[in-house]
Amino acid sequence: MREVAIIGVSMIKFGRYPDRDFSQLAAQAGLEALKDAGAEMKQVEALYSGNLYATSGSGQRILQQMGQTGIPVVNVANACATGSTAFREAYFAIASGAYDVVMAVGSEQMGKQGLLGSRGDPATSLEGRVGSYMMPAVFGMAGMEHMRAYGTQQEHFALASVKNHFHSTQNPLAQYQKESPLDEVLSGRMIAYPNTLLMCCPTGDGAAAAVLCSMEKARQFTTQPIKIAASVLTSDPFSDRDLTLPDINTLTRNAAKIAYEQAGLGPKDLSQVELHDCFATAELLHYENLGLCGDGEAGKHVASGAPWVGNKIPTKYAEDVAPFVDKTYKPTTTAVVNASGGLLSKGHPLGATGVANIAEIVFHLRGQAGGRQVEGSKVGLAHVIGLCSACTIHIVTK
């Protein structure tokens, strides 16, 4: 397998684009990524398109906007891990030696339907009748499982929301760029206990793209090729309870183990992580799943300041966070988590998310992340999980 480099990335601002088609959003991201790479459409040898709602032909429709060069197109759908799975297919296309330059693009136009709504025929659909199948219930109960095992409090989960909304104020590409102090998060409308509205990601429209190239040819395009040190995809292994409570933990742990082995790196080596905080409860579970802290320590970890930009609690939140700080807890990792604002603020246009997470890390590794820049970022991990269940982890390095 050959070394693979990312030579260009882009992400359009996530939000609502009712007057545009998903293929236009994707083409904009794709063309911007090409420009970033200093490459042209005619140099792209294959396209990997991640989109969940457009069903088949999403990539071909994107090429109709971006340039119908006749190249092979692969359309990917893999729940919330759709974009990152498309990226991984692009990675393999280069690693295998089949192509030298390919593009991965993730896009979605969700409109107002989203994770919080119920769909299907109301007469016979389970949703709305047996409400525990709905996504907010699943992630509410996943948080409750952590509360049950470790005594984690609702406030600990809420702190992940405070942090990510704080980070988002420096990300002009985020759907929402508004701070939300702890009392505002906790007093917000309850969605599914313990997650309030500000602890649930918004849905919307968006696109992100990446141009991948063999490392040997990367320097023809850029002086700053970013290396893909690990690319991993797992599905959920058998467990007695996972047909009822989807197990979002085991497959992430399995993916992390393989990714760290592939990269020859560990959690201590990470400068930053973009992880799948579709709900605030999920963020804390993934601290442990990714090895950023020990089992049961996620609440202490977020309150310690370690995963915040600058590795400390901003002064203005110190008083709010103080009751949840465990002075005996010493973080063993310094990875900043969700410097972008996370899905909670950045938004979660399903197919776009996986590529956008990787693009965000590339911005930081190149020192282009503006006010949210993780200083001296050298190694980043991008994690995505989709229910039913798929988990991708990519580790990228300077």
Partner: protein
């Protein structure tokens, strides 16, 4: 011949609910892989644990269990008035089911990890042809 007027049926909402002649005879059904002993809620053709094709032994699941985790959902749906309590209930056979918890006010103070609950069934909806749908729920013992 009035062929189009098929008699309305009483149907389970989910395949793992087996209906009896009366509602107090309804029960949750499971299947057990005779090869690896994995127990599933509802019928199975193949085993996700051992990759075998069974054969599967049909089993009757208990109607009492313990709340593993719970949540309170605050979004109204066409059939359930919000807020309402949901839970994963562990059954003695080693499997778990998703369910709504009734018989209590949906407030965090009324739900406890490990609380004992018992199943009951009731009609929850009717389709255009007049078929009714029976769902199972649990309430505290």
């Amino acid at each position: 011949m009035a062929e189009n007027a098929a008699a309305p049926e009483v149907r389970p909402l989910v395949p793992h609910l087996t209906l009896g002649a009366t509602r107090d005879q309804d029960y949750l059904s499971g299947s057990k892989c005779t090869k690896c002993k994995a127990v599933y809620v509802g019928p199975r053709m193949f085993c996700g644990r051992c990759s075998g094709a069974g054969p599967f032994e049909a089993i009757r699941l208990s109607d009492t269990g313990e709340v593993y985790v719970w949540s309170i959902i605050h979004q109204a749906t066409p059939y359930v008035k919000a807020p309402y309590a949901v839970a994963i209930v562990d059954l003695p056979e080693g499997v778990a089911v998703n369910t709504n918890i009734e018989g209590i006010e949906p407030d965090p103070k009324n739900l406890k990890f490990g609380m004992k609950v018992k199943m009951f069934t009731e009609k929850v909806s009717e389709d255009r042809e007049g078929n009714s749908y029976i769902a199972y729920k649990f309430r505290p013992v």
